[in-house]
Point group: C2
Chain length 189, copies 2
Amino acid sequence: MSELERYIQSYFGVTQEDLALISSYFERVTLKKGEHYLRAGQHADRLGFVQSGIVREYVQVGDREVTKWISTQGYFVVDLASFLFDRPARWNIHALTDVELYVIKKQRYRQIADAVPRWPELEKLFIARCFTVLEDRVVTHLSMTAEERYQQLFQFNPSLFNTVPLQYLASMLGMTPETLSRLRKRAGA
Amino acid sequence: MSELERYIQSYFGVTQEDLALISSYFERVTLKKGEHYLRAGQHADRLGFVQSGIVREYVQVGDREVTKWISTQGYFVVDLASFLFDRPARWNIHALTDVELYVIKKQRYRQIADAVPRWPELEKLFIARCFTVLEDRVVTHLSMTAEERYQQLFQFNPSLFNTVPLQYLASMLGMTPETLSRLRKRAGA
DNA sequence: CAAACTTCTTGATTTATGTCAAGCGGACGC
DNA sequence: GCGTCCGCTTGACATAAATCAAGAAGTTTG
């Protein structure tokens, strides 16, 4: 059972047959460190699942890059607005390490619904979960200081701070690299 | 055609028959100014649609209230995690004016899917739209100053600043009432 | 292996925003 | 109509975080 299948199983709770069917629709894609999987302005016509490696989603704002999210094993990577609504992608998606993905094209993705009748319902629940995670993230920014946001992320996933360049974590937390560096020093002391 | 029907029509593009059917599942509820529609910890077993009036969604954080969103005509109000996943509500939902809602109970809501086969798909797309709006809101907090966030909201919906107490808008924008007051003064001058 | 980049840290300083406190003014009840 | 309350503004000050600049540490490249 691949990581993808394990993930679909745990989140969507489908049968073994459906599981094999769904995962057969994906194809394996590898990215070299530094390679782009998607660039803003393109059409995101495929959905990726991170099997291994680290992927960064960012948006160019003026002369700086704002990291929206870092995806590691078990995350899907996509520009959802582009994928579902055929709009130009807003996010750049970029490999921070060598990456293995399972990827499904939009056209094939649509066929899942035919093969698995409950799929739209499962998919709805999945997206709703993502929505509620983002709701929390917004509240985080409305109610916490930079230090509290750092502490929260560190407690949730300390290993990120070994594996991901700190400048990207700082951006994702909404602070400068200098500030993150100082918070880390303070927390460590 | 009610505002609710117009809204469902424009977003979900269903037939006249489906439209009438769906809207018949809702019932009209009114709230007095200051009344709570939902309190954190309760189970949100109903979904509301704002027909008129202004509704505030907030969360208690320590000794202060953080306003997550202000809903006016055309918005749905619900704690989605509670409604879909039967978890205790995290948001308080509170009438800032007298409010007219159309409300549907979860049990009846489930019946829509039986009556309108395309419903799970439509619902998925609707939630996905909400998700992408929140994605933008997160990026807003990662990349903009308090002043830029104020400008953005003011340009998007200036009338909010006449109709909603500024303290709540300040909270929703992630700043103090004093800061919002000063930004408004500066922008006006 | 050394040079050239990156990335991170650290210090000095500036700026944006928060906090505290006082006062103004409109809305509401009596 | 007058006091009271509530929401907003304003000022003085404190603090968090950004910016600018330099240097250290680690990595990649030739």
